[in-house]
Amino acid sequence: MLVLACRSARAAASVALSTGTLELAAIANVAWKVHTAGALQTGRYLRADALTSFFLANIGLISVIVLAYSVGYLRHIPEGRFSSPRWFYALFFLFLFTMVAVYLSANLGMLWIFVEATTLASALLVGFYNTEGAVEAGWKYLIVCTVGIAFALFGTIALYLAAVKGGVNPESALDWTVLMAAAPKLGVVPDLVKLAFVFVVVGYGTKIGFVPMHSWLPDAHAEAPSPISAMLSAVLLNCALYAVLRFDAIVSRAIGSGFSHTLLLVFGGMSITVAAFLMVVQRDLKRLFAYSSIEHMGIVALGIGMGGMLGTYGALLHTFNHSIAKALLFFGAGNVRENFGTLSMEKIRGMAKSMPWTTGALVVGGLSIVGLPPFGLFVSEFMILTQAFIGSHYFVAVLLLAVLSVVFGAMLQHFQGMFGGDAEVRPAKLKLATSDFAAMSVCAVCLVVLGIHIPQAFTAMLHAAVVVLR
């Protein structure tokens, strides 16, 4: 796939698209193999189990949609160093490759390497426009994430150390399967394991966007080109989350789930609360969506933190739903930027008249992101809440319900402002490219389907994924 990426760097959008579809096919293939033959191990460092295939399915779907959207989106971008369609696609596929590699790596060290690589690969994409904002955002993204990831490295080392102390053979002491198998042995040095998890959660948490390590996230999402914002929010965050999931599984086995889950609950709670309040006072559309990503990562963290079959299941489902919905929203934001030339929500008025389809997309995306039926996030949030009450985490439940109301208010207020009224800024009245339309409609359809009837195969995959984690 690296090869493919390189080639497509010199090719036009069509190549990119075909590559994307090939990649999707490859992923589907992997997923199918996993589904039939269970875990898939190639060499010492590449491995694919159900969890992998689930996230691969996610990344495949999103990336193809995003590619389709970028075709229309890249029609007019300012030319500059590193900022031309070919560079875009080259970096895009590099980025994509690193993320796929994250999922495929069987070894926590590899995992770390590739997560770091995602940062490096996407940094240039964040700074793609070369404007002041873009450079600033890129810099912050690069530095903050690298620092965070560095801590994650320390955490990985600590866990490695714990494994070695636990008598695991140093050569394979970072392999995920080995660690899962030998997890009880790690229990001999609980302090060390705890230390490791603290560093890991802070490190990867930075990339997930847990408050208070979230600071880079709004800037990066707001300043990147909309397709990239979609990728960041819909796929990259899940990557980091995946890493935390793996560690959480090991640590839970080693010293019981109490510690790690408490940590996740704390971070999740902080994230949803702070994000919700900040959403109330946002002025920039994409920053608003960025904060909502923080909020949803928080919800996922809560789901995992509460544990239980339903919680984990709901959390995974939620990551999937969230990525689709968020992609849709960022596509809408992209169209808004193209037509109004701005993203500041005070300036945008009368969208309902001037760009009905985008409005429709934003309405669908908005409704689903605040967790209303008949969209997927309603189902997953329903599950997570159910788990909260089953496990009698009443505080979490009440907090979540309250926060959801605040978020709803914020979203509603902002969207109403943009849809109604008469625009001071005359929209450019750009015609919606068919590719954009296709991308957005696919997202919408997926959301509705996941809200009304989840396909059998998908549920099976999810169940397998959950089983992997326990």
């Binding site: 460092y45 070894n107 590899m110 390497i113 404007t131 530095i143 080392i157 070695v164 970072l174 230390l195």
Partner: protein, 220 residues
């Protein structure tokens, strides 16, 4: 041979002290280039450290690691940073938000703190206390540099110091990780520095200064 033994043990014994010295000097340094030199020196100490360990433990992998550390951290990165400083032809002082004396005292405090921090783990892990303390001290001071220095380059250097610390920690506690992983980490590091250099230039081009504390357009 005895000589080598001696050298190795000396190196192991003195490394921590040398690292503390580099840290303190870095904290007090006024010019970016000084910091770069100090970083190079620090990495050199690390190299000697690894060599000594490699010799003690008789492991071939660690020689390779040592070589890589020397090439990348002692030669490549400092030189690259120097090039950047040359090409930027921007003002060269570190532009700290704290006076140098404050910085030094803070660094000293951080070193003591790190001793205090590692104390409980030393028994369980059975490693030399001062080495682990040095590692933590590097991490903390690296963080401190990133927070207190306003220049973009200084943040890069701070990050590198921090990374050194982590590397040292890995070294002292686990005698290094599997080679492949190490290589990957080094690759990432190299790429990271390259990218940051790139961004430093972009910042220069777009803002005409390198003061990251002035990059505050995006907020709220």
């Amino acid at each position: 041979m005895g000589l080598m033994e001696l050298a190795a043990t000396k190196a192991l014994a003195s490394a921590a002290v040398l690292l503390f010295i580099t840290v303190l000097m870095m904290a007090s340094a006024k010019r970016i280039s000084t910091c770069i030199v100090l970083f190079g020196a620090q990495s050199a100490v690390l190299t000697s450290q690894i060599l000594a360990l490699a010799f003690v433990h008789k492991s071939a992998e660690m020689y390779i690691v040592a070589a890589m550390v020397f090439v990348i951290k002692v030669l490549a990165i400092p030189l690259a940073l120097f090039r950047i400083v040359e090409r930027l032809n921007a003002p060269r002082e570190v532009a700290s938000s704290t006076t140098s004396s404050q910085s030094v005292f803070t660094a000293a405090g951080l070193i003591l703190l790190s001793f205090y921090a590692v104390r409980p783990y030393v028994q369980t892990l059975g490693v030399e206390e001062d080495m682990l303390a040095a590692a933590v001290a590097l991490i903390l001071t690296g963080a401190f540099l990133m927070v207190s220095r306003k220049k973009a380059l200084m943040q890069v250097i701070g990050l590198l110091v921090l990374e050194n610390g982590i590397f040292l920690a890995a070294l002292t506690t686990t005698f290094g990780m599997p080679l492949v992983i190490e290589i990957g980490i080094f690759f990432d590091l190299l790429m990271g520095v390259f990218l940051m250099g790139l961004f430093v230039f972009r910042i220069r081009d777009t803002f005409d200064h390198l003061d990251v504390s002035k990059l505050r357009k995006l907020r709220g």
